[in-house]
Assembly symmetry: C2
Homo-oligomer: 380 residues x 2
């Protein structure tokens, strides 16, 4: 670096404030998460995913008419161009759903009514469309790979109920619908997490919403991010299959210097407020379905990790047992994270474009000192 004004950031940009934002408030010391200033506990207790989307995209809670309108628009956008559906059919049946989602969102741009528009209003419309289409893609691909007939969307249902209908081929119980709805609310946004940051970096070149969301999906897949909920369940499954003692099993992993997914968070130094809700959901769903084991196992591991490692469970830990108890396949856990997080990604892309500047940091060069002589090939 020749510039005299360059500032060295900690690795991974930890603790660097990369932008201002009015979407998500986090207090990592107090364990507070709020969307547009409203506490996540209030939203989880009283809101719906549709209302939360409205809040994220419009910076205020909707009136009854406004939320009904948004629900109607989401219902109307439950359609998919045949070419995109044909692309899903071309994906191998053993493809990871997260990879399929990346293709679908990339392709949906061709068929978007606002293909050529990148203004605020057009991007809100794209947010609505993508919210509907991402959920449909996950459901469609899951049925395609299982050789099950595709299920038509029902525009009269809530987003959560329609997703479960298209996935499972039957209307969900009110309990399952509400459980998924709360999970979607809890996962909707989380400030500058890695996928949202990837989406903002992409959008800031004045590329487009679909490109930005595709970047977000690619980043969310990683096991250090959204992929962690799948990794948690793989451990629970191994314990279950081996009939092992959960604490003994985790102790064994730690002895092998393995990281236990679902614990610790760069931002929270106390309990992740989303974990509070998901723990409760995991417990309630387990009991109501007569399958309390997944929760019990998770709870033992959580208590051990807290006392032994001083690490708190994060959002991923109890989403694993919750989703499993809802009957969802493990490789759909991260896609369902995307089904929710599209709302936050879109809000961040819109915010980025409202006051844009290219996101282009520097690297400190630590390679061979310039100038390294170019040696002609005959003398190498």
């Amino acid at each position: 670096m020749s510039s005299l004004t360059a500032t060295h950031a900690p690795k991974g940009l930890e603790g660097i404030i990369a932008t201002t934002s009015s979407i998500c408030y986090i207090d990592g010391e107090q364990g507070v998460l709020a969307y547009r200033g409203i506490d996540i506990h209030d939203l989880a207790d009283h809101s719906t995913f549709e209302e939360t989307c409205y809040l994220l995209w419009n910076a205020r809670l909707p009136s009854r008419d406004e939320v009904r309108d948004l629900g109607r628009q989401l219902g109307q956008e439950r359609k998919m161009d045949k070419a995109v559906l044909d692309m899903l059919r071309l994906a191998p049946k053993n493809a990871l759903p997260m990879d399929v989602l990346r293709i679908a969102v990339s392709a949906l741009r061709f068929f978007d009514a606002d293909e050529k528009n990148n203004d605020h209003a057009a991007n809100v419309r794209k947010a609505i469309r993508l919210t509907s289409q991402i959920a449909m893609t996950v459901a469609y691909f899951d049925r395609l790979r299982k050789n099950k007939p595709l299920v038509d969307p029902d525009p009269s249902l809530s987003h959560s109920a329609n997703f479960l209908l298209m996935l499972n081929g039957e209307r969900p119980s009110p309990t399952a619908e509400r459980a998924l709805d709360i999970a979607l609310i809890l996962h909707a946004d989380h400030e500058l997490n890695a996928s949202t940051f990837a989406a903002r970096v992409t959008a800031a070149t004045l590329s487009d919403m679909h490109a930005a969301i595709t970047s977000g999906i690619g980043a969310l897949k990683g096991p250090l991010h959204g992929g962690a909920n799948e990794a948690v369940f793989r451990i629970l499954e191994s314990i279950h299959q081996a009939g092992a003692d959960p604490v003994g099993y985790v102790r064994g992993l730690l002895a092998q210097k393995k990281k236990i997914p679902g614990f610790g968070h760069r931002v929270y130094h106390t309990e992740d407020p989303r974990a509070t809700h998901l723990r409760q959901m995991s417990r309630d769903l387990g009991h109501s379905k007569g399958e309390p084991d997944w929760f019990e196992m998770s709870h033992s591991i959580e208590q051990f990790m807290k006392s032994e490692k001083k690490l708190n469970a994060n959002v991923d830990f109890y989403s694993a047992s919750t989703y499993h108890t809802l009957g969802i396949d493990v490789d759909l856990f991260t896609p369902i994270f995307a089904v929710s997080r599209i709302s936050g990604w879109a809000a961040h892309v819109i915010e980025q474009l409202d006051d844009n500047r290219l996101i282009r940091p520097r690297a400190e060069y630590v390679g061979p000192a310039y100038p390294v002589k170019y040696v002609p090939i005959e003398r190498r």
Copy 2:
């Protein structure tokens, strides 16, 4: 923000050193660009794109055998799974090639021999494959949209010659092959530019190479980044069609407060060393083809912008007239940037994963003060 240790970065992370890197050295004051310490002028004068790829991926120049091996591997990887080709056929003929590229790279992961591997050696193999496949995708889609028969790759040709063969259906002249090769060398890497940064943010979640490169492609498309070379040509074309005076036309745009693409750079405060080469290429190609107008027009605009606005031409400015004189369609300019930049993106992803940490900055919350009361819907 509650954390006491947070550091406010300038907007767009300008001047923030986000990572160390041994790939690309830039001295923005002196106008120096070097890959692995070797000056870009030496590489443009003496190297080939294959050799530059080897240098970027292996941190040293190859022996004669090593570069021959890499050429052979690139040749062998000139193949594409039928399903990916079928996806290209499903894209509308008027789709933007940059969007098609995003789909193709997303999908190529399914058919990658190293699908499940994310280690250093596997990622070098993926870099080789993607370098071949991205070039093929651009050529295939261009022929598909023009209803021309697809051209089989020729594994015996250089990367540049094969690309031009597959694009145009005939072997290029040595001049055209060398011109493209130099353009690919010049565009191969540029430190933490926005697309490379998007790729590193994606890779750092331990997602995969294909996801990271897809993020890079999405970001490169933006007119504040790779998309600028297309924007430059649109202006040259308008001037040409109107028979206008180039300086008068640009003066008119400035009077309307429009930005002139292809000028200024966040990092260089003197001439972009890539522009030096591209200016020469634009002049030489124009003269040898008997079409000096595109260069002359560009040169007048450059001189005006330098004297009037104190802005230097950047890499995008002369690549527009160069590519046009090579007979390349304007909406392939940015895809050709990607055909080159895949080499740098891959080098950065590999470097990121060799010493990884999740890239997760913070945002400063500037929305309504927490806690905003949740007002029940019946009272709104």
